[in-house]
Amino acid sequence: MARLSMIEAINAAFHEVMARDDRVLILGEDVGVDGGVFRATVGLIEKFGPMRVVDTPLAESSIVGTAIGMAINGMRPIAEIQFEGFMFKAFDQVYSHASRMRRRSQGVYGVPLVIRAPYGAGVRALEHHSDAPEAIFCHVPGLKVVIPSTPSDAKGLLISSIEDPDTVIFLEPKRLYRLFKEEVPDGDHRVPLGKARLVRKGDDITLITYGGMVQICERAADHVDNEGVQAEVIDLRTVWPFDIDAIIESVNKTGRLIIVHEAPRSFGVGAEIAALVAERCLLSLQAPIKRVTGYDIVPPLSKLEDYNYPDPERVIRAIHETMQF
């Protein structure tokens, strides 16, 4: 065990997986000599060389497109897109090929590919550096979408994603990269995809969240605990296909549900969860479902960023309204 930040845990995962599996390679802009603009890939090119830590030309579509070819031809590529806002140049390759090559070849070719990108707001960044596009990828048949919330989960989920036979969109909340450190298991540490994490047990209300919002929900839960409200906090970890059983079980217990994400509200992950809860356990509900989310807007630049990014106060208000319904 070592105390690592999220970015250090991601780096540790790469060092370990690449040492034991020579099919694994990393490609992207500045991933080699520079070690990645956030230093996620630092120290790798020295150890594994330029054919496994590949500094690509500045061209996102071919970063993903060539990675698809590599995956078809027996490799386990990890494609880094430098920021989530640049993923859309590669969207055709994701949508038309990575997600459907298994289907298009009737099972002959899979695409075991991880597409990583720093994700989300909260770091006072430039335009196109603060987006939360996970729902766009969740809507693509054949993809998996993973967003970690802790250093330990980042390592364990990343290793599971690299070993997964299908394409995984792995979004790393950049606000959490260096926010805190925790003990991260050495060596093989896998967090299974599709399994949520019970962050905090509670009987009164369920908060479903993931990524950078997990801490926000924990702080809100701490606050209402003083008022005698026990909030259960569930971290989805795999945003899609998510852990439906964990959601339904918790809502059946508490009868109240708030979904918290920084991504825009409409047609978002919260909407899907709300629909499924309505279909499966409507009669358990004692209050309407609420969503605390980013608004349906382009993420604001730094001066207004905090008004869009959900904070504990907005979650606490939603808890109060739900409890008082």
């Binding site: 390679l25 054919m51 579509s61 071919s62 055709d92 289907r103 099972g107 002959v108």
Partner: protein, 354 residues
């Protein structure tokens, strides 16, 4: 680069232009290529006929491009990879794709999308130019493992306007990948002529921008296509030299069966290309130089026609796919939501039968 630089070995009248090159092709091989060209035309003509009768779906006719198709397909060696677009049936056949399986696909049955498992061939790619990236990536993986294999992609003149064309050739040039990008320049991207795709005189010269080899070939001359692509694949395989090869040909039919080319091109535009037919050219050469005659030719056409008829009988006799099969192969392991949706379809089907 000009027309003068176009590689030709046998001219449109079947006269030998490059004696040494043409002689290097054995009797067995040229007969095999000729047979496959004739077969591809018969297969394609039958497919068009079936489509008009509602017995097959939309088809992109390959008539006029048989030499480009067969020449490049036959140039591949075992272990090489082929990444086709959607007008490469002849090359797919050369690579081991069963002609009947392509009828299955064009008939709307996804079982026909399954490539032969050991043929190293990707499925047909319809999103134009996107598969050039896959070719480069496959080549990168081969080079990273030190394998001596080459990768061939094929796409049309329209694909050279796509960003993925530029990105793939650029990546291949930077990493010196064992890949050959073949462009079937058939002069048309649906209604847009090649002059509106690019201001360059040739497609081959675009290779200069990527630091890779660029070659222009008479795409209706199967000798030139086969021998040039074979040489370039050898260079890719043994020297990690990527290249772009332009196969100059002509789309003799509509873009697809949903298109009406009379809206944008005239009979006068087609006439010179009728005189450059890739199959007529080989037949004239074979008659003059390799002991071929009219009777043998008639027997070959009759044989191909009968083979195609049998494929159609088999295709039409095969049972339709199971509706629940549409959930297959979305993921390696089916997640909960797809299990539920699959069960819903099975349940609805069961109820509607009652």
């Amino acid at each position: 680069m000009s027309e003068m630089d176009t590689i030709q070995m046998v001219d449109a009248d079947g006269n030998v232009v490059d004696e040494k090159a043409v002689k290097s092709v054995s009797d067995e091989l040229i007969h095999k290529m000729y047979r496959l060209m004739v077969f591809t035309r018969a297969w394609n003509a039958k497919a068009l006929s079936l489509q008009r009768q509602g017995r097959l779906g939309t088809l992109a006719s390959v008539r006029g491009q048989e030499a480009a198709n067969v020449g490049m397909g036959m140039a591949l060696e075992k272990g090489d990879w082929f990444c086709p677009a959607f007008r490469e049936y002849g090359a797919q056949f050369a690579r081991g794709v069963k002609p009947g399986v392509l009828y299955t696909y064009l008939g709307g049955d996804e079982r026909g999308m399954k490539p032969p498992e050991d043929a190293c061939i990707l499925p047909i790619c319809i999103t134009v130019g996107s598969h050039l990236c896959h070719a480069a990536g496959i080549a990168f993986a081969a080079k990273a493992r030190g394998e001596k294999v080459a990768v061939l992609s094929s796409s049309g003149d329209g694909s050279t306007s796509e960003g993925d064309f530029h990105e793939s050739l650029n990546f291949a040039g930077v990493y010196k990948l064992p890949v050959v990008f073949a462009i079937q320049n058939n002069h048309w991207a649906i209604s847009v002529p090649v002059e509106h795709q690019t201001a360059t005189k040739t497609i081959a010269e675009k290779a200069c921008a990527y630091g890779i080899g660029g070659y222009r070939v008479d795409g209706n001359d199967v000798f030139a296509v086969y021998l040039t692509v074979k040489r370039l694949l050898n260079e890719a395989r043994s020297e990690y030299k990527p290249s772009l090869v332009e196969l100059v040909t002509y789309r003799m039919d509509d873009h697809t069966t949903s298109d009406d080319a009379s809206r944008y091109r005239t009979e006068e535009m087609l006439a010179p290309w009728r005189a450059r037919d890739p199959i007529d050219r080989v037949r004239k050469y074979l008659v003059a130089k390799r002991g071929w005659d009219e009777q043998k030719d008639a027997d070959l056409i009759a044989g191909c026609t009968e083979e195609v008829e049998q494929l159609v009988r088999d295709y039409e006799a095969s049972p339709p796919p199971d509706p629940a099969d549409m959930f297959n192969y979305q993921y390696f392991e089916e997640p909960w939501h797809l299990k539920e949706e699959r069960e819903e379809v099975i349940r609805l089907l069961g109820e509607s039968k009652r």
